[in-house]
């Protein structure tokens, strides 16, 4: 039978990372993926990633996907696409459907990196055409160039719901509401804020009563729920929509592991049924490893590190590296993973209500309830200062592991310090040169350059802008507040694009000076 040192199932972030590490250590590696394109979910992630440099922060997901593919190619990994693994049989036999035949392979080691599938929720009408997963919507938009709908309601305020809502807007869909049964926004505040400021209303403690329509979705009714998730009569709200997107979590696709006889557990913290494995992916069956979402739902950055861990462990298992070398690799990777698993959204904090930041500042309640920071709350955060002349205003208010902003400013205006989850501060006495790099490099689109008083009663605000067409200089419109509501008239004074900004455009608008700390988005009139 055809045999490889290592067979990896799934060419997503964790599978490719595992394959690269193993191949670099000398293993003969093949990766099978059922899709026609490699990269897993990375190729539909058009937003910039969080983290630090080692986590490839501020790089867009699909670019990371391409980088991984190039590295895999260089390392001699064989990536086979349109290759559906139909079974993981006994004795680590992997049976793959390739075109019109099935091929049997044996792996001395097997890494399962099959990722996750979207969860569904039920409500009357949930089976109507037009009710789709948010991930499906993302695939339609970003991989196939198909608009999922025109008027969309998003259910779910986790990062997937927030990111996809923003992308729907970028595609020209109207997101009429972002709804979540939970009382607080689940995803990063900066993701929520960038959606809210475009005018999407948030309905927390709400969920779908019913999807309406005969042949397909024509409308939806939501209502408020009480603390035991029961509908409160009289709180119903109706929207005309053609699409309902569900972003209600993911479940590991762990079936192959169960089939192979790996010991499994049902672990709600990991998103469902997962193999019992040690922290480097070794399952109960020697030589079968896991990495990425299939072993517990997290995100792409940690999946890549888990993949690298599993690749190294497999290399040691097969004698390609010594125990000492493995330990060294794992120590480094442990640190990288710890770096990501810090802050308010760390796995250990899941389900906990956090009221204060590490700095002791009260968390914005409006951000959690409405998706935006209230005007009266914003100035208590250390990135928001008032100064004469152009200066950065950093509306980053939660402790998340991310620091590209401090590297972006060559003038040293922004500092996060040693702890990657600390809130960024504007360094005293630093001088901003209005280069805009911080605005473009902030993955959360939370940095603005503000000149509060131009001397003529106006202020200038430079904001990150990722919508097309780009407004030209002189375009008249409105400044929108953090809540997405019109606060003032505004005119575009500049629109900067540059390779260094990586497709984030810098829009400078002029507003009456009393709105310098209020207007955060621009809408053409």
């Amino acid at each position: 039978m055809k045999r490889y040192d290592l067979i990896v199932v799934g060419a997503g972030p964790s599978g490719l990372s595992a394959a690269i590490e193993a191949a670099k250590k000398g293993l003969k590696v093949v990766v099978f993926d059922e899709n026609e394109k490699p990269g897993g979910q990375l190729f539909k992630q058009i937003h910039k990633f969080f983290g630090s440099k080692e986590h490839r922060a501020k790089v867009r997901g699909f670019v990371i996907g391409q980088q991984l593919l190039d590295e895999a190619d260089e390392a001699g990994v064989k990536v086979v696409l349109n290759a559906t693994v139909i079974g993981l049989y006994q004795d680590k036999e992997v049976v793959v459907k390739l075109g019109g035949e099935v091929v049997h392979y044996k792996g001395d080691a097997v890494i399962i990196a099959t990722g996750a599938a979207e969860n569904m929720v039920t409500f009357p009408g949930w089976t109507l055409p037009g009710v789709i997963g948010a991930g499906a919507a993302q695939t339609m938009m970003n991989l196939h160039g198909v608009l999922p709908g025109k008027r969309v309601l998003m259910l779910g305020s986790g990062n997937v719901g927030l990111v996809v809502s923003f992308q729907l807007e970028q595609c020209g869909c109207e997101v009429v509401a972002l709804v979540d049964a939970a009382p607080r926004v689940g995803g990063y505040g900066v993701h929520a804020a960038k959606v809210a400021r475009t005018g999407v209303p948030f309905y927390l403690s709400h969920t779908i009563v019913e999807a309406e329509g005969d042949e397909c979705v024509t409308g939806v009714t939501i209502a408020e729920v009480d603390s035991s998730f029961k509908f409160i009569p009289g709180t119903e709200k109706h929207f005309d929509v053609d699409t309902i997107c569900l972003a209600v979590g993911l479940s590991p696709m762990s079936q192959l592991l169960k089939m192979a006889g790996c010991k499994m557990e049902d672990n709600p913290k990991r998103g469902g049924q997962v193999p019992i494995s040690d922290s480097y992916g070794q399952t109960s069956v020697p030589g079968i490893f896991v990495a990425g979402d299939v072993s517990g739902i997290e995100e792409a950055s940690s999946a890549m590190i888990e993949g690298r861990m599993a690749g190294n462990v497999a290399a040691e298992y097969l004698g390609y590296i010594e125990k000492d070398a493995l330990k060294e690799e794992l120590d480094t990777l442990d640190k990288a993973l710890d770096g990501l698993r810090q802050g308010m959204f760390a796995p250990s904090n899941r389900g906990k209500l956090i009221e204060k930041t590490d700095e002791g500042i009260e968390v914005s309640q409006s951000l959690l309830k409405n998706g935006y920071i209230a005007d009266e709350e914003i100035e208590r955060f250390p990135g928001v200062v008032r100064k004469v002349g152009v200066h950065p205003v950093i509306e980053c208010t939660q402790n998340i592991p991310c620091n590209p902003c401090q590297d972006a400013c060559k003038k040293g205006c922004i500092s996060i310090g040693k702890n990657i989850t600390s809130l960024p501060i504007v360094v005293d006495g630093s001088e901003c040169i209005n280069c805009g790099m911080c605005v473009a490099n902030c993955s959360g689109q939370a940095i603005f350059l503000v000149d509060e008083d131009k001397g003529d009663g106006s202020a200038e605000i430079t904001l990150p802008y990722e919508f097309l067409p780009l407004p030209e200089e002189g375009t008249k419109g409105f400044g929108l507040g953090r809540d997405g509501k019109v606060v003032c008239e505004a005119v575009v004074t500049k629109c900067r694009s540059s390779k260094a900004f990586d497709k984030t455009h810098l829009l400078t608008i002029k507003v009456p000076k009393e709105y310098a700390m209020k207007a955060r988005f621009f809408k053409v009139s």
């Binding site: 390739l98 049997h104 192959l256 089939m259 049902d266 049924q273």
Partner: protein
Amino acid sequence: MNSVNDRTRDIGPFVPGPDDDMLICRCEEITKGEIRQAVHDGMWTLTEIRRYLRTGMGLCQGQTCSKLVKGIVARELGVSPAELEPATSRVPMRPIEMRVFANEADSNKEGE
């Protein structure tokens, strides 16, 4: 896991619900009411539910509904969903034409 499960334990009567006619397993068109009734007929494990009603036995093999069914059964039994073991996973992971499954590549041939 093999834990003692006395099927005479009282789980209360079947109470019809307003959303009993809602489809849960789309492939096999099984409703919430049918699932709830099956629990009261004694089908206390997800495997039994699946064998009795065909939930999760269609083209998607439970990818969409298995978590939903689990939630419904758990609620009916008054246990946490995590206590219910998911049904077994079977080859093939994706539906495969008989002619393709039958067509095994020569395992001695070099190539892929």
